[in-house]
């Protein structure tokens, strides 16, 4: 269910590192309730764009309107208020190594809720089950988890506060095809249950077909194209075709059409 109501508006966003221009007056809108995928070549600035939208990196120029608030000029405290409504799944998981999985999920809850430790553990277990782990896995430490379990645990922590907005950086990278498909499935389930707006970066053609309501292709410091997956795949634009007209992309499409 898409509403035109924008959750994020990026206006004339510019990002430079020294003399290197990563984004040059970039514009985009994220609508409430959609799953927006950001794609592009390696080094095209997908991760940095995600980081700017999640308030983890200040832009060189331009503004980001996040949940109706302009974030570039806000003080830290208000930002904290706003950050609480976001969840971020980092590419490497970024679980705290010195804590068990359950304690990891408890961190934002302890920080922001004032609930008893007992109830926080219970809510943590609910989240663990939601992401397809078992309550007993909560006692494990991050270095005792497999790659796929780590992603799930990190997702459980990202949704600890039921965020309105969820950022996923390459959620399925590093997973085997079966786990990747299961993870896509999981994201769809969470989406229908908790209805967050999702912005994700991915290289995975299968997840793009599975998940994305809308796709944005980054390149040459700007948005090269945007549209649904079908529109992108059918595009005759020479800037877009290499990305969506290759054997892997076609195979992913064929798989989707077969299952449809």
């Amino acid at each position: 269910m898409l509403s035109p109501d924008p959750v994020i508006e990026v206006r004339d966003l510019t990002l430079r590192f020294g003399r290197k221009v990563v984004h040059d007056r970039l514009n985009l809108t994220v609508r409430r309730g959609e799953i927006l995928a950001i794609v592009g070549g390696s080094g095209s600035g997908k991760s940095t764009l995600l980081r700017m939208m999640a308030m983890l990196q200040p832009p060189s120029a331009g503004t980001v309107l996040l949940l109706g608030d302009e974030v570039t000029s806000r003080g830290l405290v208000q930002n904290l208020e706003l950050r609480r409504r976001l969840g971020v799944l980092f590419q490497q998981g970024a679980l705290f190594g010195g804590m068990s999985v359950l304690e990891n999920i408890g961190v934002p809850l302890h920080e922001h809720s004032g609930l008893s430790a007992r109830l926080i553990d219970e809510i943590g277990c609910v989240k663990l089950e939601l992401v397809g782990l078992e309550a007993n896995d909560g006692l494990l430490y991050p270095n005792q988890l497999s790659g796929g379990m780590r992603k799930r645990a990190a997702l459980a922590r990202a949704i600890a506060l039921d965020p309105e907005l969820l950022f996923l950086d390459e959620p399925t990278s590093g997973l085997d095809p079966l786990s990747a498909a299961a993870f896509d499935e999981l994201i769809l389930e969470l989406k229908s249950a908790l209805d967050p707006t999702i912005v994700m970066v991915t290289h995975d053609m299968d997840s793009l077909w599975q998940l994305a309501d809308r796709v944005i292709l980054l390149g040459e410091t700007r948005v090269l194209a945007e549209g649904t997956m079908e529109e992108m795949a059918d595009s005759r634009d020479p800037a877009v075709m290499p990305f969506f007209q290759n054997p892997r992309a076609r195979a992913a499409r064929a798989a989707v059409e077969r299952s449809a």
Binding site: D5, L67, G68, G97, L119, E122, I123, E129, L130, D195
Partner: protein, 381 residues
């Protein structure tokens, strides 16, 4: 994704969650979200639930999230245990979706794994075992190190001169500044504190004996070892520990390179070379510090001070002082590297083992120094 609210409500003031019991009905209100549930959550277990059929009225609930859904689910589970009939009213579509989601996870309060809290006796046993294993592990480490070292002595081509040179620069050359400054100040302090007493007995010249003997025989080796334990021992632990976390140590092993050979031995050897040299340097700086102080406070000239030093400090004392340094170096480097390999998993573990490494190596250095004193005294040196 907090359910049942329009966008315009998202930004307005939050309300505390409430739960009231009236006769046989539970009346809920406010924001049933994790931020607001704390208002009544802690009294939840003492709540005297009505007996018999129960009505739950959720009409006054404005927001609902998984936390709220779980608290409701918990109540429902409790009522179900008492086999009470429950009638829920005022549950919005989104909220009932959340409730369904939470109940489908099948979590019950009993399923939550308790963090195993152990008794005093168990904790004592565990920590004793841990220490014993630590000791055994350290012994094994020293043994392995010795065997790799012997292998290198037989085939000197395998000695990693480049790494040794690098470590020499890091642990030796770059420490010159701090070691020099601190031992100079130490010499100043000894001369200053002792000089006053000596002057009362008109024995000012003996400040050279005081500074010379105490610095050369005891303090210079000790202070240098302590500085190096804090400076290089900790760096060894942090470096190896971080490599352990990022699987770089395993990467080395997989390439057929023994971490012992590449990471440990060069450090140990380099420190065993560097520390005696630094100690000589500290000797000189300490004596210099004493000399400056002696001439300023006690009017002992440089020439007579140096003359006196050469009489007071025997070659024996000098060699004893320097002879301790390689032993200290071996202790510091071994403990530092061993603690590095003890790191498992996380950044936090790196920090813990770095602290341990510094504390243990300084302790060991002081204990060994005391042992030296006793032993040398026994043999009359």
């Amino acid at each position: 994704m907090t359910a049942n609210l329009s966008p315009s409500m998202r930004n307005d003031k939050q309300q505390r969650a409430t739960l009231q019991i009236k006769d046989s009905s539970l009346i809920c209100g406010g924001d049933w979200t994790v931020q607001q549930l704390a208002a009544f959550e802690r009294s939840l277990d003492q709540l005297r639930l009505p007996t018999g059929p129960v009505q739950i009225d959720l009409r006054a609930v404005r927001r609902f999230d998984t936390g709220g859904a779980w608290v409701l689910q918990r109540l429902l589970l409790k009522l179900a245990q008492g086999q009470q009939a429950v009638d829920i009213s005022g549950l919005s579509a989104e909220a009932s979706g959340l409730l369904k989601l939470v109940s489908e996870t099948g979590i019950t309060p009993e399923k939550v794994p308790g963090s195993a809290r152990s008794g005093v006796l168990e904790a004592l046993g565990r920590s004793s075992l841990e220490r014993a294993l630590y000791g055994i592990g350290l012994l094994a480490f020293v043994g392995e190190m010795a065997s790799v070292w012997l292998g290198q002595l037989i085939r000197p081509g395998r000695i990693r001169w480049r790494e040794i040179a690098h470590e020499l620069g890091e642990a030796g050359y770059k420490a010159l500044g701090i070691v020099g400054l601190l031992s100079f100040l130490l010499g100043v302090v000894i001369a200053y504190q002792g000089g006053g007493q000596l002057r009362q007995y008109a024995a000012s010249l003996f400040v050279a004996d005081l500074v010379g003997l105490s610095m050369v025989r005891e303090l210079a080796p000790l202070i240098t070892a302590i500085i190096i334990a804090g400076r290089s021992g900790s760096a060894y632990t942090a470096q190896i520990g971080t490599m352990q976390v990022t699987e770089e140590v395993d990467a080395l092993r997989s390439m057929g390179i023994a971490p012992m050979e590449l990471l440990v031995l060069p450090k140990v050897l380099a420190l065993m070379i560097a520390l005696p040299l630094l100690t000589v340097y500290a000797d000189i700086m300490g004596v210099l510090g004493g000399m400056v102080m002696a001439s300023m406070q006690l009017d002992v000239g440089f020439a007579s001070y140096i003359d006196r030093i050469s009489i007071a400090v025997s070659v024996e004392s000098y060699l004893v002082g320097i002879g301790k340094a390689p032993v200290f170096a071996a202790i510091i480097a071994t403990v530092g590297c061993y603690q590095g390999f003890q790191v498992v998993g996380s950044a936090e573990s790196v920090g813990r083992h770095t602290t341990l490494s510094v504390v243990q190596s300084i302790m060991a250095v002081i204990v060994v120094d005391a042992a030296f004193s006793v032993a040398l005294n026994y043999f009359g040196i």
